[in-house]
């Protein structure tokens, strides 16, 4: 395996993308996946000097670490708290927001390489097996739950994504997998996320339920952000993608599996609190 480190976007473009390339940011997700044989790379392209890092006004460089966001007073509370409650200090010091948005599912079957639908097979092992941590929405084909806390916060904050090719709202970054296309994101081969742009809220909050007090993925995470025209809600841990909710009534449409109905109750309780908190 080869490691290259282009020093600018121009140099990155000049490298010319190749099929065996993998972009390397903090490596906290990529390296374990390489080690476990979940992905393969001919060439690691370190993008540290290619992708902007830091916050300017309402623009966040995709190379900004979760630790930097957590400590930046210019960042809305929902995103700061989502970063603060994610992973561990070591991981937040290395992990970037760009990599966080693109992390893979923690579904144990997928991580252990069961030949499930997301790996191209024809069954979802979680639906018939262990799924207490899995999705309560859109879980028909693949019941994986999206693990990113910051993604839910950014979704509630109306974030837009700028790549080296285009610009679009954050929800467009994600897609539900289907039999014809198992991917969970719409990013093209070799496309880089460069920046995120959020809409400053009047107030925002992120609440997260975990199996222990720290260093656990969300059973349910709820982000709420209040704007002039109302409160926007988005959830982590409830669907294969970050999940925007029109209102708490929309939780009635959840279709939990036998062992994860408690997530609906959690989402309701956290949702009520989040709305109350931003409405004060």
């Amino acid at each position: 395996m080869q490691l290259v480190r282009p020093s600018s976007l121009e140099e990155f473009a000049a490298l010319g993308g190749e099929p065996g390339d993998q972009a390397l940011a903090g490596g906290t997700e990529l390296v374990p996946q390489l080690r476990d044989g979940l992905i393969h790379a001919e060439r690691l392209v370190q993008i540290t000097d290619v992708v902007p890092r830091g916050v300017e006004g309402t623009t966040i460089g995709a190379g900004t670490t979760l630790a930097e966001l957590e400590h930046d007073a210019a960042i809305p509370e929902a995103l700061r708290e989502a970063c603060r409650l994610a992973a561990s200090p070591q991981l937040r010091n290395m992990g970037t927001i760009g990599g966080n948005l693109l992390q893979s599912t923690r579904c144990w079957y997928w991580r252990l390489q069961f030949p499930c639908r997301l790996h191209g097979g024809d069954v979802c092992h979680a639906r018939a097996g262990q799924h207490r941590e899995h999705a309560i929405f859109a879980n028909d084909f693949c019941a994986s739950a999206h693990p990113s806390d910051p993604a839910a916060a950014l979704l509630a904050l109306g974030a837009r994504v700028r790549t080296d090719r285009r610009e679009f709202p954050l929800d467009v970054l994600y897609r539900l997998p289907t039999a014809d296309d198992r991917r969970l994101t719409t990013l093209e081969e070799g496309e880089l996320i460069l920046e995120l742009e959020f809409a400053p809220p009047l107030a925002s909050v992120y609440l997260k339920a975990m199996d222990r007090k720290r260093w656990a993925f969300a059973l349910v995470g709820v982000a709420a952000a209040r704007y002039e025209d109302g409160v926007r809600l988005a959830l982590a841990g409830v669907a294969p993608t970050p999940w925007a909710l029109e209102s708490l009534d929309a939780l009635e449409a959840a279709e939990p599996l036998p062992d994860n109905a408690y997530k609906v109750e959690l989402a309701q309780a956290l949702g009520r609190r989040a709305i109350a908190s931003v409405s004060r």
């Binding site: 923690r106 991580r111 097996g129 262990q130 339920a209 199996d211 720290r214 994860n260 959690l266 009520r272």
Partner: protein, 205 residues
């Protein structure tokens, strides 16, 4: 005969020397001691005694339990190393916090494969999960036992912790949790059942 106490070495004829003065003279030398613990007495079982009390706060909407404090009082006979004994109690309680709340080995029902193989899936307690631990040792040598009058302290702090926490949860909320770990789904279910019992009781009153 020499004895050691109060930071001094004392001889039976009344002499007394500060310990640091003697060890200062030692320079690079070492003092080595040897001791032995006699066998457990025949025809008698060695039992330790202790009591643990848990104080908890339960969020009845989200099922989150915060263990605020655990008091542990143990009678293990003579305490030989107080710091070691305390650490043993603290460590046992922290270990128990794991099986009480977050450690669960999940198997795939069809293949029998263990799914929780990594430390992000199999959740040990973190520092943030550790309650305030107040421990006290009775420290009375048990004269029926060995020449040391002391007993073991490995398991005693671990075993009662989950039960004390479950009982504290019931005391606080009426919820009866009967299996471990006490996950969110477990406690939300137990809270629902408690509310139902209360409703039925109110209806028949």
């Amino acid at each position: 005969m020499l004895s050691l106490g109060g930071g001094k070495i004392v001889s039976s004829d009344g002499g007394s020397w500060p310990l640091e003065e003697i060890t200062g003279l030692l320079q690079d030398g070492q003092i080595l001691g040897k001791g032995a613990r006699g066998p457990n007495p025949a025809g008698m079982r060695v039992l330790t005694f202790g009591v643990q009390v848990a104080e908890v706060a339960v969020d009845v909407e989200t099922g989150e339990v915060v263990v605020e404090r655990i008091h542990a009082v143990h009678d293990v006979g003579r305490v030989i190393n107080p710091l070691g004994a305390r650490s043993q109690i603290e460590g046992g309680i922290i270990q128990a916090m794991g099986h009480t709340f977050s450690e669960a080995r999940l198997d795939d029902p069809r293949t029998g494969s263990i799914l929780t193989r990594t430390l992000d899936a199999y959740k040990l307690p973190t520092f943030a999960d550790v309650p305030e631990i107040v421990c006290e040792l009775v420290d009375v040598p048990d004269e029926h036992l060995t020449n040391l009058g002391s007993k073991g302290l490995g398991e005693p702090p671990i075993i009662p912790t989950a039960a004390a926490i479950a009982n504290a949860i019931r005391d606080a909320t009426g919820a009866d949790v009967t299996s471990l770990p006490i996950t969110r789904e477990e406690i939300l279910q137990a809270l629902r059942e408690a509310r139902e019992r209360e409703r039925v009781a109110a209806g028949t009153a």
